[in-house]
Amino acid sequence: MKKLILSAALALSAGLAAAEPLKIGMAPEPYPPFATMDASGQWVGWEIDLLDAVMKNQGLEYTIVPTSWDGIIPALTAGQIDVIWNSMSITDERLKTIDFTDKYYKTPALIVTAASGGVAAPTPEALAGKVIGVQVSTTHQAYVEKHFLPAGAEMKSYQTQDEANQDLVAGRIDATQADSIALDAFLASDAGKACCISVGAVADDPEILGKGVGAGVRKGEAELLGKLNAGIAAVIADGTYDTISAPYFASSIYGG
């Protein structure tokens, strides 16, 4: 019986990661400029470049595993992936389930709306009676629930921010709230330019919006956490962070 299980286990592990590179979970949907998959199947973007730099610095082998965003934390806790490196904000709610590294960027949350007939300002009063779209399981969803729903807004949840943007272009929702960089990239695209404008950042709420973006690891993986933190600190200290950011952003997005 033991032999059977052993051979089955060997067969399964042979079907997969034998040398155990780290499995990095990223949502497969395009999230420019942080992470997108291009036409040749390669991952490109600022977050990918940073990941590569940190891993090189620490001498870790890795492979990117596409994981659906709405199941990415359960996938981490269940062992499907080892690290979440997908613009996930560090919040107390999430810290109950997983551990985070130190932050590697922090940017405000923006509301983008239709150019005509949309929302006037990023305040609860302006959003009363409007439909706002957010990505599921994000700090923005929690923010909308806490601040805008009681004021009379309606919320629609999407699996990916990209879908929310598409519905904004399609006129199905009046506004969307998400990370400012990602929305800037959307506004710079053809579809975004034609339809929508930004109405500014929302009032900050650090408890909900979090203390910046970090990488997620399972609880109890102190060694991995230490390595990643060391890597992030090293990359920032030796200037690689700024070199990577230069082609994407005019100023540093590390945040205060």
């Binding site: 599921v136 699996q159 879908e163 519905d167 272009v169 399609a170 006129g171």
Partner: protein, 257 residues
Amino acid sequence: MQNLPPHRIVLLVIGLGLAAACVWFGNWSWLMNPKYAALIPGAIFTTIWILVVTTGLGLIMAIALGFAQATGPWWLAAPSAAFCTIVRGTPLLLQIWLLYYGLGSLFPQYPWIRESWAWDILREAWPYAVVALTISYAGYEGEVMRGAFRSVPRGQLEAARAMGMPRFTMFRRIWLPQAIQRVLPTLAGETVLQMKATPLVATITMIEIYAVAGRVRQDTFIIYEPLLLIAVVYMAIAGLIVLMFRWFEGRVPVKAA
């Protein structure tokens, strides 16, 4: 419960024990949370109304498609056959996304659509879900109905025509009822399959019970308990469907020739 063999009693007890263990050891705190508990009845209702509406409309469409293929002229039969083949040859998820994202991105480009009364409906997700599921059901049942119409004995139809019955009355009184009677068992199975297809509409923002389980999982990271609960709900609905069709079959007078 009479004549229950002993091994079945043991299995039932073990089954109930497992269910009790799930309830006892599982994390059901999310059910107490009014945010989620309030969503569940509405979500179950959404699942059921989508199922009923798409099955009803799909069956009507299937009758037309099956009839066209069984006895229609080639210019009706060929497109119907092509329609059924295309619908059955592509995944339902793809069809749903094609309608919602493809058509959905097409409509807002025309200002006259945006201004009209239809915009409030076209803005929502449910029309696309209903259309996609109806088309899917019609594609599969069209084949089933084609076989059903063919299987009704020709003699009855000829006798009706010989007696001067108008064509539509013959269809309504003889051909259609007999065709449906013959395929009731198949329709029961297909309706269960349709129920199993309803979770896919959660991917286009409709809130039915699979979406609620997803919501709980995303907010609280509790994975299994919500899924187990909705599995039980789906099994219950499937059981109801089977019972309902059995009742229909019971109402049909069948003379074993």
